[in-house]
């Protein structure tokens, strides 16, 4: 595809629909839910659930098809004696067509929902990060068994539990263990996970699930890390705490304790075997999913930033401060120059995000691009929302407007899914061609 900067018609249509929800369902509840931290945005949840069910149906069908092909290729490789020659078949033409804008479409939707409200957005029902992990590495049977719930009935949530009190950015340091009990053919999980988005919604308030990262062999380091599916209602799983936060207060951030929690043998995602050296695929797989999720966080950041920028611009316009495009710099007032800078920062971040998503859709390597987008978007939205509070004077700092909330909401985007610093480190290693030992 040649260089093009044009929003596809189908995404434009979808955005009009999402904007109605953002404007009429999310915004009216923004302040209330910020002030009533652990209440749920039910109006939003019920508005999104039918849409998400439909989306999940399509995603799951496609994931199942891919998983089946992978399975067949693996079987063929095993029978021909090579054992390792797993070639991922390219998707069928029509599937390619449908998938070719899946990520682009997703980031547009998330940008718009976050423009509505970044905290409420996160309560989106569906498999979310947990579902994505199962779709990415699950067998056709696992996909069927775990994900069908997201296509029917009442709203349900999925979540991913990675972070621990002693393991934040250094995810390879996780202490939660998974031990296999050969007698009962079960995995036994023990440990504590924190900062799990939608953890309570997934485990206690719906028939959902959480994908939990645990080590099957501490000595093996990264190679021992494996993802496990823990379903709601599993004995020994307790949501011990729901965090109180600076922003995105409508979002549920849970601490989960696993106390001899037993799950079936085939709730492990991917290979159970520990292969050191070339084989730390489990960990690499987890890191790989960040290439897909970082553009999503970047998009969310930009949505909040756009909300703050547009509100500031429109409010100041009523006071007679107009944006001017084309004048020499010296003719702009300081406030006009600030507005311009805000808009340019957001555009810069958004274009990086679009590129990261487009590469993902084309199934091309995007590690560098997705980290660049994340760094830029996290930083841009931090600057933009802080500036918005400043430019709006006494009312900017007051809860009269939503900008002070947006500033608090925005900050999370520079932190989760890899802090700005961790992502800068990734960018630096990529451009320098350095390993994590060469550049710590």
């Amino acid at each position: 595809m040649p260089i093009e900067f044009k929003l596809p018609e189908s995404i434009e249509r979808q955005l009009r629909d999402v904007q109605v929800i953002a404007e009429h369902v999310m915004r009216p509840d923004s302040r209330y839910l910020d002030e009533h931290e652990h209440e749920r945005p039910w109006r939003y949840i019920h508005a999104m659930w039918p849409r998400m069910k439909e989306m999940e149906r399509a995603n799951i069908a496609a994931a199942k098809k891919r998983a089946l092909k992978k399975q067949e290729a693996l079987r063929a490789a095993q029978t021909n004696g090579h054992g390792v020659a797993v070639v991922e078949a390219p998707p069928a033409e029509e599937e390619q067509e449908r998938e070719s804008i899946a990520n682009l479409s997703l980031i547009h939707m998330i940008e718009m929902l976050s423009w509505g409200d970044a905290g409420i957005y996160l309560c989106i029902p569906g498999g979310a990060l947990g579902g994505a992990a199962i779709q990415a590495v699950g067998t056709p049977e696992q996909i069927e068994r775990f994900l069908t719930r997201y296509t029917e009935g009442e709203p349900k949530w999925g979540a991913m539990a990675m972070t621990e009190p002693q393991a934040g950015s250094d995810t390879s340091n996780i202490q939660t263990t998974a031990t296999f009990d050969p007698e009962t053919q079960e995995w036994i999980l023990n440990g504590q996970k924190i900062f799990c988005t939608n953890g309570k919604l997934a485990l206690e308030e719906s028939d959902g699930l959480v994908v939990v990262w645990a080590t099957v062999d501490k000595k093996a380091g990264r190679a021992g890390m494996k993802p496990f599916v823990v379903e709601a209602g599993t004995p020994g799983v307790v949501v011990a705490k729901v965090e109180e936060k600076l922003g995105i207060r409508a979002s549920d951030t849970a601490t989960i304790i696993f106390d001899n929690a037993r799950i079936p043998a085939d709730n492990i995602l991917g290979d159970a075997e520990v292969k050191t050296g070339v084989g730390d695929k489990g960990f690499k797989g987890a890191m790989k999913t960040f290439d897909a999720t970082r553009p999503i966080v970047a998009a969310s950041a930009i949505g909040v930033g756009r909300a703050a920028f547009e509100f500031t611009r429109d409010t100041l316009a009523k006071e007679g401060v107009k944006m001017e495009y084309g004048k020499p710099r010296w003719k702009l007032s300081a406030v006009q120059a600030d507005l311009l800078e805000m808009e340019a920062q957001l555009r810069a971040a958004w274009l990086l995000t679009l590129k990261a998503a487009a590469l993902l859709d084309a199934r091309r390597e995007n590690k560098l691009e997705s980290s660049m987008a994340k760094v830029k978007a996290g930083r841009a939205v931090t600057i933009v929302t802080q500036k918005a509070v400043e430019l709006l004077g006494p009312l900017g700092y007051s809860t009269e407007f939503l900008v002070e909330k947006w500033m608090r909401d925005a900050k999370i985007n520079d932190i989760y899914e890899g802090t700005g610093q961790i992502n800068t480190l990734i960018v630096a290693r990529e451009i320098l061609g350095y390993t994590r030992n060469e550049l710590k």
């Binding site: 260089i3 044009k6 555009r347 810069a348 590129k355 800068t424 480190l425 320098l432």
Partner: protein, 363 residues
């Protein structure tokens, strides 16, 4: 769609220009800067790439059509080679592009063919004025209609290659609106003054030019009765300068990156330290983001959409970016960056020019 891949034709063109920049511009840029002269041979070789005819319609002797995007792609490569010589090479564009974009059929037929020949055309433009607060939309130079003529009065500066110019495109305000007029170099009242000395791009010869009661036939008003829209030309100028800024920044970033991997301090390459590595990472991010903003503006311009805002945002962003990146490159090299043995100090000086040159470069 949103997609970011060059066409095979664009890729080929970019590769060709990159090779020219690497082999020719990089070989002479320091000497050109120090001697304040652009080597004629390098200019001729650059002209022979045929970039400008590639932007002109076949009916006027060219072999392409105008594409701001394709231009942006190769301009980055040229500026990566050297900004001063690039601006020399782009001087004829200052005359030809506005004619191609706004000229009447007769003006196009009369002038464009001279930009499709073998010889480097002696044409330039005069827009910038010697004032602190310069605004291309509010010029002090005036054009007054007297009978069948326009009479131009005013002082210009930053006029590239004015000394040998046979044709000037002079921007002047006519009843408060910026218009452009074609004036022959030998017209009475055209006074080429002293050479302008700038802090950077010193290989490029630029002059002060005074127009004193310079009378040109009314047929020399660019665009005839319709005239020009200066904001549209400024949009093109911003896209051009944005692309060039990305090229200069990329040169500085690449140089600093390689230096940081080789320079050893405290027993290991300085790039092993986050304080250096993070600077480089941020340079890369900002360069990439700016490039995409420039591409987007260029795409919009080519698609016939209003690109004013996109180009303005891109250029505003690029001005700051190129200064940060080139300054960062000097900083990464430390004391060595300050010494003229390395190119980064020159790139910093050149980088500073972008915020000043609005309107003065169009390609």
């Amino acid at each position: 769609m949103y997609s970011f891949d060059m066409t095979p034709e664009q890729k080929m063109l970019v590769d060709t220009v990159h090779k020219y920049a690497e082999k020719n511009l990089r070989a002479v840029y320091r000497e050109a800067e120090e001697s304040k002269q652009t080597p004629e041979k390098v200019v001729q070789m650059g002209w022979e790439l045929g970039l400008l005819p590639g932007l002109i319609d076949a009916q006027y002797g060219g072999y392409g059509e105008y594409s701001a995007l394709t231009s942006a792609l190769y301009l980055e490569e040229m500026a990566w080679g050297d900004l001063g010589i690039t601006l020399h090479l782009l001087t004829p564009n200052l005359f030809a592009i506005p004619i191609a974009q706004f000229g009447t059929d007769q003006q196009k037929a009369q002038y464009l063919s001279m930009f499709c020949g073998d010889a480097f055309p002696r044409a330039t433009a005069a827009i910038v004025e010697p004032v602190v607060q310069f605004d291309p939309a509010e010029l002090r130079t005036t054009a007054e209609k007297r009978g069948d003529e326009y009479v131009i009065n005013g002082k210009k500066t930053y006029v590239p290659l004015a000394k040998q110019a046979e044709l000037f495109l002079v921007y002047a305000q006519e009843n408060g609106v910026t218009q452009a007029f074609i004036a022959p170099g030998n017209a009475s009242g055209v006074k080429v003054g002293k050479r302008v000395k700038l802090m950077g791009v010193q290989a490029l010869e630029m002059y002060e030019v005074e127009f004193e009661n310079v009378a040109v036939p009314k047929a020399n008003r660019l665009g005839g009765l319709k005239g020009i829209r200066i904001q549209r030309l400024l949009t093109l100028s911003r896209i051009t300068l944005g692309a060039l800024a990305v090229g200069v920044a990329r040169a500085a970033y690449e140089y600093a990156l390689n230096y940081a991997k080789e320079r050893v301090a405290f027993g290991e390459p300085i790039a092993h330290r986050q304080s250096i590595a993070f600077m480089l990472a941020n340079m890369r991010i900002e360069i990439e983001a700016t490039r995409l903003m420039v591409w987007e503006a260029a795409y919009k311009y080519d698609a016939g959409e209003d690109a004013t805002k996109a180009a303005y945002l891109a250029k505003t962003y690029a001005d700051k970016m190129v200064l940060e990146v080139t300054d960062g490159a000097v900083q990464v090299l430390g004391g060595h960056g300050y010494i003229r043995d390395h190119p980064v100090e020159l790139w910093l000086r050149n980088g500073r020019g972008f915020a000043t040159l609005d309107g003065a470069v169009i390609a």
